[in-house]
């Protein structure tokens, strides 16, 4: 029996890459519950996670489901509100009585869901949690592998990449939104830059929701930094860059914390812009057949859903990894028991499309897998570290 399951599972895995239909899973469905910010201010990104989830669940069901049972994803709309996320997770657990839960999108909502998971001793695998120190629950597992101290490790990766480039910067300007998860990273980057001996020529903060980026652009221009670290979330990166363009200023080198990747890459002025990423749809990432298949499927579905940007990057890859981690744990333990799953995850590592994940460091975080990518000719390409760089790609300096 066990052997048979394992063989079927193996066949299923093979079928994924071959795109073959498999004998349908049977029995009562395994029900997995989650919320996403499908409406409200965060809805721009939630749609990505919805598409990824649908792809994964469809694919699971084409294979053997989970433990031979079909999988049903119960998705609710938390309307971008943490209090709603909390209540809906309680509904999923205590009323809908789902078998498993996975995380919502965005730090405040994940924290809200985490509290619920903790009270009911449920495993919570989540993506896009920006502040690891807030993840205090021992049965939560981050599938977005940024390590326990991204505020130090991510900037260090970035400065390593810059130091290895043809023109390492000596002066730095840090400008940042006071959006909590971004601000957290910018404050960290400030410390790291100081330690590494970069001279800070400007540090500016603005309130999230600021509309006039003209004066900020001007002050950056006046400060004449070699490198601009932009703590911007979503559109803010675009807005700042547009404001710079309007005064004919091109920052020599510039980095954006959590930009809206599609719109940023499309801006001609963004040539050379850097950002962090865990996945880009080019080799060596796409050498993984699962990743290649996913990229193809995602591109098609995103286009069909009318998304202006169809490529797979951090968000979609983190979301996909969540499902991969969940599937790996369930398949390996043949269990839907939260304690069993958690114990297994703490002991083992999981191969995902972003790389190998482990959960054995502080707050169940593992390695910082953030890489550095750059806009080159309208496309994002990974440039650092070298083993993940796109074939032939290098960090371009002016």
């Amino acid at each position: 029996m066990k052997l048979a399951t394992r063989i079927i599972a193996a066949l299923g895995a093979a079928a994924l890459s071959l795109g073959l239909a498999q004998a349908a899973p049977s029995g009562a469905p395994v029900r997995i519950g989650s919320t996403l910010a499908l409406t409200g201010p965060l809805s721009g990104t939630a749609i990505i996670h919805k598409i990824v989830g649908e792809i994964y669940v469809d694919d699971l069901n084409k294979r053997d489901g989970l433990l031979g049972r079909p999988v049903e994803w119960i998705l609710k709309d938390d309307q971008s509100k943490p209090e709603l996320a909390r209540t809906l997770y309680e509904q999923l657990i205590t009323v809908d009585k789902v078998d498993l839960i996975i995380g919502p999108y965005a730090t405040p909502n994940i924290i809200a869901a985490m509290g619920v998971a903790q009270r009911y001793n449920r495993v919570l695998i989540h993506h896009t949690m920006g502040i690891p120190s807030l993840a205090k629950y021992d049965m939560q597992f981050p599938a977005w592998s940024v390590g326990p101290n991204p505020e130090t490790t991510v900037p260090n990766t970035l400065f390593d990449a810059l130091a290895a480039s043809a023109k390492p910067p000596k002066t730095i300007a840090i400008v940042t939104s006071k959006f909590p998860s971004v601000y957290f990273m910018s404050v960290g980057a400030r410390e790291v830059a100081k330690k590494r001996g970069l001279q800070e020529v400007l540090f500016l903060e603005w309130e999230f929701g600021n509309k006039d980026f003209g004066p900020i652009a001007n002050r950056v221009k006046d400060a004449k930094p070699d490198f601009v670290f932009v703590g911007a979330i979503g559109l803010e990166g675009n807005q700042l860059l547009e404001a710079m363009k309007k005064i004919d200023y091109v920052p020599p080198m510039h980095y954006y914390m959590y930009p809206a990747p599609g719109p940023l890459a499309k801006l001609p002025e963004a040539q050379g812009a850097l950002a962090a990423s865990i996945f880009e749809q080019h080799p060596p990432f796409t050498n993984n057949p699962i990743a290649a298949q996913f990229v193809k499927e995602y591109n098609a579905r995103a286009a069909k859903a009318g998304l202006p940007d169809n490529s797979v990057e951090t968000q979609a890859a983190a979301s996909f990894s969540t499902w991969q981690v969940l599937e790996a744990a369930v398949t390996a333990t043949k269990s839907l028991d939260d304690k069993v799953l958690a114990a297994w995850l703490k002991q083992n590592q999981v191969d995902t499309i972003q790389g190998r994940l482990r959960f054995d460091r502080a707050n169940n975080y593992g390695d910082d897998l953030m890489r550095v990518k750059q806009v080159q000719n309208g496309h994002w390409v990974t440039v650092w570290p070298k083993e993940w760089a796109a074939p032939g790609a290098k960090l371009i300096t002016p």
Partner: protein, 283 residues
Amino acid sequence: MPSFTLLAQSVLSGIFIGALYGLLGLGLSLTWGMLRQINLAHFALAFLGAYLTFQLTHGAGWDPLATLLVVVPCFFLLGASMHWLFARFAITPFNSLLVTFGLTVIVESLIQWIWTADQRLMDSAYGAVRFKLGALYVPLPELLTLVLAVALSLAAWAGLRYTDLGRAMRAAAEDAPIAAAFGVNERSLSLLLSGISAAFAGVAGLCIALSFTLAPSQIYAWIGVVFAVVMIGGLGNPIGPLVAGIVIGISESLTMALTSPAWAPLVSFSLLIVVLLARAKKI
């Protein structure tokens, strides 16, 4: 010490953003002051206009300015029919705020349904053009916004002051029964005014599309500051919003140029508080 260029460019930047505040506030102020309707849906209409501009420019390859030929008449009808609905139900000023909030939510959903919640950026030929004025830069989209804001504000002012129709409107706003006794047809004037205000929202939408990346939830991002502009400018005053917008724009941009930009909202909203308190005595 900040350089002169930095300060001057910041002032310019404040004028441009202020012009957009003023343009957004113009229609809002007119219907608020003269029809006693607090039209939250004005912001939703502006973004609907922005998305239509985006669609026609991006999808159908129109020139951004040409989209006004479609947007303005459509929005005029939309605004007039909205007012017809309000008049039909004899809605109170405060309830107009709530009904238009409901309409805003509907429009927001409509936008998200058609264009998704993902950010949309319109790239037009205008975006890349900028002029140089000494050491200062004047980008075309912003200049266009300023010109449109000034032109429409002046046109509204002149229209209300010098045309018979405008005078009748002001009379009706001041004292409807007396105006009616003098043969002013208040109902059709109100429809006209609402239509014009909605058309102004459409024009503001064009300016938003020219300079900003679009997302449905951005509708709410403008409410606070534009309300402040409308209130400082004086309800129903066609020039007020533009002046107040520019004052707020400049004070914010100078705050950002000289101190921490994160404190900028403190300046504009403190200004609003002071203006409101100063005005309280006169009432």
